[in-house]
């Protein structure tokens, strides 16, 4: 018998809205250390269970457990903690600077620092990164000068991109960090193309890219997976699932039945799902995927399960669409606190050392801000020369732009 009942349109809704108590009881969290670490040449089809679970290394007591433990030296862990703390402090400072009207806009990465920082640590400095706009942690972990980041945000005379873009839209070829686009998702297939070029040239460098959960809905996400699968491109494709895309929960991006990592399965790629607030788990998954890519075995999609602790940007007010205290209830905790706990647990760190590092970072960011502001802010009007706005449209300035420069009086 055919079903002749009437149809109805389904519109997904998140579990909690403002006024509700945060409730993450629907989230399945396997214990840390529960999963095998498959060989890097494992068959993609055999890996499909990894798209529906969570790779976790740090347990509730701060122990690193199980096969995915990357066994990093304490010094490497301390560097990871440093970079995450610096990223958070930098974000705090630039947020305040925006509130003071000295820059036009800012985007924090609070709560998801482990994703960018651990990924940067797990790949080589020569590998090419195609970031989204929330990967400041990656650039910081690569040692890009903080002063240059601030000057970019201030759009001042020392802004490396000449005042052309909104704050956070960094570009740093010197650090193998591609120019950030405001148009979502475009970087993902570009990373695949870079990786294909590297393979074509018999190079040994790989590409790494990041995309938000919301942005996986764009066609470009799917183009990236398909090209990566077809050409076995040496690329690590990261989805930062921070649960939200401005006001839209992630069920709007991919429905409520699948995971983002599972998107890989249909393309014949490995899809790993990782506790994104666990520095060691992110590092381990990224390292696995990087090794696989370098062994000519192609791309991996990694979903980092995390939570956007702050507003989408300085233009946003999340209390309008989600419970304000959701982050406090986030079951995977805070990546900084968890790595700190681990370091203390292994005897490589103390509260006193943590406080000292925290103070050192506060001084560094404060002094860098002072230096950057001395050069100029958007409000003080210290900008690159007006004539520069006509440069870089083309390699050479054509006659009609020269005429316009004249009209503009430059």
């Amino acid at each position: 018998m055919r079903n002749r009942g009437t149809l109805s349109l389904h519109i997904p809704e998140p579990h909690n809205r403002p006024g509700d108590a945060p409730d993450f009881s629907n989230i399945l969290i396997p214990p840390a250390g529960a999963l095998e670490r498959p060989p890097i040449d494992a068959n993609a089809r055999a890996l499909s269970p990894y798209a529906y679970t969570l790779i976790r290394v740090l347990d509730a007591e701060g122990r690193a457990v199980g096969a995915w433990n990357p066994h990093l030296e304490p010094q490497a862990l301390i560097k990871g903690l440093h970079d995450m703390m610096l990223t958070r402090a930098f974000d705090e400072r630039m947020y305040r600077v925006q509130r003071q009207g000295k820059i036009s806009f800012y985007v924090k990465s609070t709560g998801e620092e482990a994703v960018s920082v651990a990924a940067a640590h797990a790949v080589e400095a020569s590998d090419m990164c195609f970031p989204a706009y929330r990967q400041q942690g990656f650039l910081i972990a690569r040692g890009y000068p903080l002063i240059d980041m601030m000057c970019q945000c201030f759009s001042n005379v020392r802004d490396p991109i000449k005042g052309r873009q909104l704050p956070v839209m960094y570009s740093a070829s010197s650090h193998n960090f591609f120019t950030v686009s405001g148009n979502l998702g475009t970087q993902f297939p570009q990373a695949v193309g870079w990786a294909m070029a590297s393979a074509y040239k018999n190079d040994d460098r790989i590409a790494v890219s990041f995309i938000g959960d919301g942005t996986t809905a764009e066609g470009d996400f799917h183009h990236a997976l398909n090209f990566a699968a077809v050409y076995r491109a040496p690329v690590v494709l990261n989805v930062v699932n921070n649960q939200w895309a401005i006001s839209s929960f992630n069920g709007i991006a991919c429905g409520e039945e699948a995971t983002f990592a599972a998107r890989a399965i249909g393309y014949g790629l490995p899809g790993l799902r990782v506790d994104g607030n666990d520095f060691l788990a992110v590092y381990a998954a990224e390292q696995w995927a990087a090794e696989r890519a370098r062994a000519n075995l192609g791309a991996t999609l990694i979903e980092h399960y995390t939570y956007r602790a702050e507003a989408h940007s300085t233009s946003d007010d999340p209390s309008r669409y989600r419970p304000t205290d959701e982050w406090q209830a986030w079951p995977l905790g805070d990546p900084v606190a968890r790595l700190k706990q681990h370091l203390i647990h292994i005897g490589a760190w103390s509260e006193a050392e943590h406080q000292a590092l925290s103070d050192e970072i506060a001084t560094l960011t404060r002094e860098t801000q002072r230096e950057a502001e001395t050069i100029g802010t958007l409000a003080t009007g210290s900008r690159p020369a007006k004539a520069t706005m006509f440069e870089d449209v083309y390699e050479e300035i054509p006659w009609h732009l020269q005429a316009q420069m004249k009209e503009a009086g430059v």
């Binding site: 873009q165 405001g182 764009e218 066609g219 669409y321 449209v393």
Partner: protein, 337 residues
């Protein structure tokens, strides 16, 4: 009548149409529970129900394509693209599909789809929150392109767009959402409530597509403009004392050629002003039309005042934006010979 800013007027248009016609649906990124990043759909989901106003994935091509499919079923979808700068992934669906379905099917199918999108600069939004891509749509035959410049027109034109049986690109000058910004960025902007055209009828009414409005009568020079530039041109006339006739085109396609010809035949001089880049911009079309229709009445070459042919540079907001000084300069050039 209620005093409304442009956002409230747009919201009212959607509210009226959702109530009037069960075939109207409103969707786009963040438009549902949240009510849109510019608040244009605030309260609509709560009032009209989940299935009438809802969030959509970040996939502009998908948004427009789904809107086309719904149109083919017989609905009148209103899709929001969060910023015009993000409409490009949808370009194929707009150009090859929405605009051509009536023609390629010999009139068998048509697409009564409205695509709303904020456009234009003046908000320190950098190159991906400031663009004016109207010419990419006016160049595509089969599309209508509408640009309101005040709350009353915004509501009436949006209602006409929704009721129109062809696809309409509805470009909202975001710098005008809260007040009639006239390009003097260093002065406070009046709220809409101080402006006559913020008096908006509460219920249903429409402003027909294809009719321009003379917003200032004058005899010295005609200024053709739309969106934010209407207020900039008014400010330029005010500042210079030049007796300009300022025409708010309101609809770019179909264009009110009669209003243009009538005015230019009277003044003999013409300035075309838009925020968009100059080369192959809509001003080129206007300039050509004026030349074709009014050649023997013209006393001077048609002048264009536009954004420079560069991407919109973040730090150079006011060097880029064609403010009243540049419009005044254009008027002087048109008056010089």
């Amino acid at each position: 009548m209620t005093a409304m800013n442009m956002i409230q007027a747009l919201n009212s248009a959607l509210d009226v149409m959702l109530a009037k016609d069960p075939n109207v649906l409103v969707f786009g990124q963040d438009v549902g529970y949240f009510g849109g990043v510019f608040r244009a759909t605030e309260g609509l989901q709560k009032k009209h129900g989940m299935t009438r106003c809802f969030d959509a994935p970040i996939a502009e091509s998908g948004l427009v394509a789904v809107g086309i499919g719904m149109s083919v079923y017989g609905l009148r979808p209103v899709v929001e693209i969060q910023f015009a700068d993000y409409i490009y992934p949808a370009y194929d669906q707009i150009v090859s599909e929405a605009a051509r379905i009536r023609y390629r099917s010999g009139g068998d199918f048509h697409v009564p789809l409205t695509i709303r999108t904020p456009y234009g600069g003046g908000i320190y939004g950098g190159q991906t929150h400031s663009q004016s891509p109207e010419a990419l749509f006016t160049h595509v035959t089969g599309l209508k392109t509408v640009v309101p410049s005040n709350p009353r027109d915004a509501k009436g034109l949006l209602i006409s767009a929704i009721e129109d049986n062809d696809p309409v690109i509805f470009l909202e000058p975001k710098r005008l959402y809260s007040g009639p910004f006239d390009g003097y960025h260093d002065r406070p902007v009046q709220p809409w409530s101080k402006h006559g055209l913020s008096e908006v009828p509460d219920g249903y009414y429409s402003v027909p597509l294809g009719e321009a409005a003379v917003v200032r009568e004058g005899s010295a020079v005609t200024v053709l403009c739309y969106g934010t530039m209407v207020h900039v041109a008014l400010a330029a006339a005010e500042a210079t004392g030049i007796d300009a006739e300022i025409i708010d085109l309101r609809t770019l396609i179909p264009l009110d050629i009669k209003a243009i010809v009538r005015s230019v035949q009277k003044t003999g001089r013409c300035v075309v002003a838009h925020e968009a880049t100059q080369t192959s911009g809509y001003g080129a079309e206007l300039s050509a039309l004026v030349q074709e229709h009014c050649f023997y009445h013209l006393e001077a070459p048609v002048q264009r005042v536009t954004g420079w042919d560069t991407p919109y540079p973040h730090a150079f907001e006011w060097d880029y934006f064609p403010g009243p000084d540049r419009v005044a300069e254009g008027m002087r050039r048109a008056l010089a010979s």
